[in-house]
Symmetry: C2
């Protein structure tokens, strides 16, 4: 399977690292030969139909900041869009940064690949939160696979879990801690009794929160994931603007303390059902699967037959997210071979 | 797909109920037509190649205690073994009671079906804890599917999750609260400060613990599940006798209190790795996915790429367990169609 990676930030590099780590094992276990034929970043690209060395690619990127500095095969200034016209490939990995305003350039990359009959795997929330139905319908009519496990909660594989593992159940709603940064902040506030502002600062110092933390603490990231869960698992047709969003910046140590006395914790919860699309701070019971701390993500599927089934995993991390992409690639391979 | 259910206790009746609830939906969604052609219990059987009415079957069993009282098609005294020689079917559902001494009669039922080229789904821990490799090898050499999601933790679908959803990861170990009764007792002791003996009595009154609670409280049930996890997920070749087992009957309110002060809970944990097969009471941190109470089951997969991934679900319940059986049937259908 010839792979083209568009975007070579943390997730793109994670994919390359995972290819390097697991290529032989995957070949042996599934008969799938992963061949990385192109990679791009905002500065240029590298293309080799004979296959790129993932380790050399990561090293080149780390040293020079540009994939186009890859020996012999680098091309400065070439865009992802142009690369897709140039190289022969089977599966596009779209891992450019999420853009929640118009989903670009990821949306165009994905649609172009689908129109050209290529399978697509992405971790990019933008196109999924804004143009889900358009992309899925186009994938269906072009007979290609479109997979996006990594877009919700990195290594908390909730989408394929819902579709495959729980195939016998109808799923009525999804309910989760979908953002690791806010979980870290709220867990720490509960433990230390510290203020929101101080805890955010600590999280920033630890590299867990961004310098501009709005995406996380205002619930935007979680809202994108709510949209993806609603469209993919509940078969709805909604977009980012449909979500009611409330963040965590107004939560005080006093309210956390009060909740604690009653046996509750405060968590930022995303909920998707046929009636509701919401991100807001809510009370969860101690001793429930939602009482997890740190940067963990959790999602509970409310089903007709199995009652509540919950998955807990790391919500972020480059190799962790890449592992979800690899599982998607393998599931495409099982369909294609 | 013509289905033959051997055993018509709680799980068998759950399967019939699920067939009744979901048959139309499954047909519509997967193109799979589920036809129940036979069911047996210890008293006899009922066979109809034209298909049985699941609701009437459940009603008959509830009223008379015997499936053989089913109008027109009931046959008193016919054994499961004989039924398998009589009826034309595609998939055997083996849900007789677990027997951990020699795995019978389930082991013989399963092997016979496999030898006859039938697919098999079971929730029965006995044959899996005692004769796993024999059965799996025979299924492979006969080209049939053998699925047993329901044997570990009812509605906590850990096996298919490991094999399908986490296809890109290597799994190094499995670690879990694999028995709901002991989780209930230990959670309640922690909450109420009550003694083991008193709490066990309460659990028995609530119908959560059996009159003879040894299977649960002595760790035997959890040990069977450790064996299944080790063989299925870690590709080991072990059996029940290989597990080191310690139960919960010696745990005192004092030790629970002491753990609590340090931020820990005591849970009965089953662990399977390449080196270890063990069931024993252990400390788990508050705020970890293992801090769940009630009768919930939890299992964490330690993976190479995604770190720890955890599934939480109801460990028992007739419809819940049947939902895992239905998911297995659907996955067989996806291979067969």
């Amino acid at each position: 399977m010839r792979i083209c990676i568009i975007g070579f930030g943390a997730v793109g590099q994670g994919v390359a690292r995972v290819f390097s780590m697991k290529r032989n094992k995957i070949k042996q276990k599934y008969g799938l030969d992963l061949e990385l034929v192109a990679a791009t970043d905002s500065e240029g690209a590298v293309i080799s139909e004979g296959g790129l060395d993932p380790d050399l690619l990561i090293e080149t990127k780390k040293k020079t900041g540009k994939v186009s500095e890859y020996p012999k095969y680098g091309v400065s200034g070439l865009s992802g869009y142009e690369v897709m016209d140039t190289v022969e490939y089977d599966c596009l990995i779209e891992v450019t940064p999420t853009n929640i305003d118009d989903g670009e350039p990821a949306r165009t990359h994905i649609l172009k690949a689908i129109e050209n009959g290529k399978d697509v795997v992405t971790s990019n929330k933008g196109p999924l939160a804004l143009s889900y139905r358009e992309i899925v319908d186009k994938a269906k009519s072009n007979g290609v696979e479109f997979k996006f496990e990594a877009s919700v909660g990195g290594a908390m594989p909730i989408l394929n879990f819902a579709h495959e593992t729980l195939a016998g159940c109808d799923i009525n709603s999804v309910f989760g801690i979908l953002n690791g940064t806010t979980n870290f902040i709220l867990s720490r506030m509960a433990k230390e009794g510290s203020s929101y502002e101080q805890t955010l600062k600590e999280a920033q110092q630890l590299g867990i929160a961004e310098t501009n933390p709005a995406q996380d603490v205002d619930g935007i990231d979680a809202a994108c994931k709510v949209v993806i869960l609603a469209n993919s698992i509940l078969n709805r047709d909604v977009s980012f603007k449909d979500v009611e969003i409330d963040g965590i910046s107004k939560i005080t140590p006093g309210s956390i303390e009060l909740a604690k006395k009653e046996g509750y914790l405060i968590k930022l919860i995303g909920e998707a059902s046929q009636e509701t699309l919401e991100v807001s701070p809510r009370l969860v019971r101690e001793g429930s699967p939602f009482a997890v701390g740190g940067t963990l993500n959790v999602a509970t599927l409310k089903t007709d037959l199995a009652e509540d089934v919950t998955v807990v995993g790391k919500g972020a991390g480059s190799v962790e997210t890449a592992s979800a992409i690899l599982s998607d690639i393998i599931s495409i391979w099982k369909v294609r071979k």
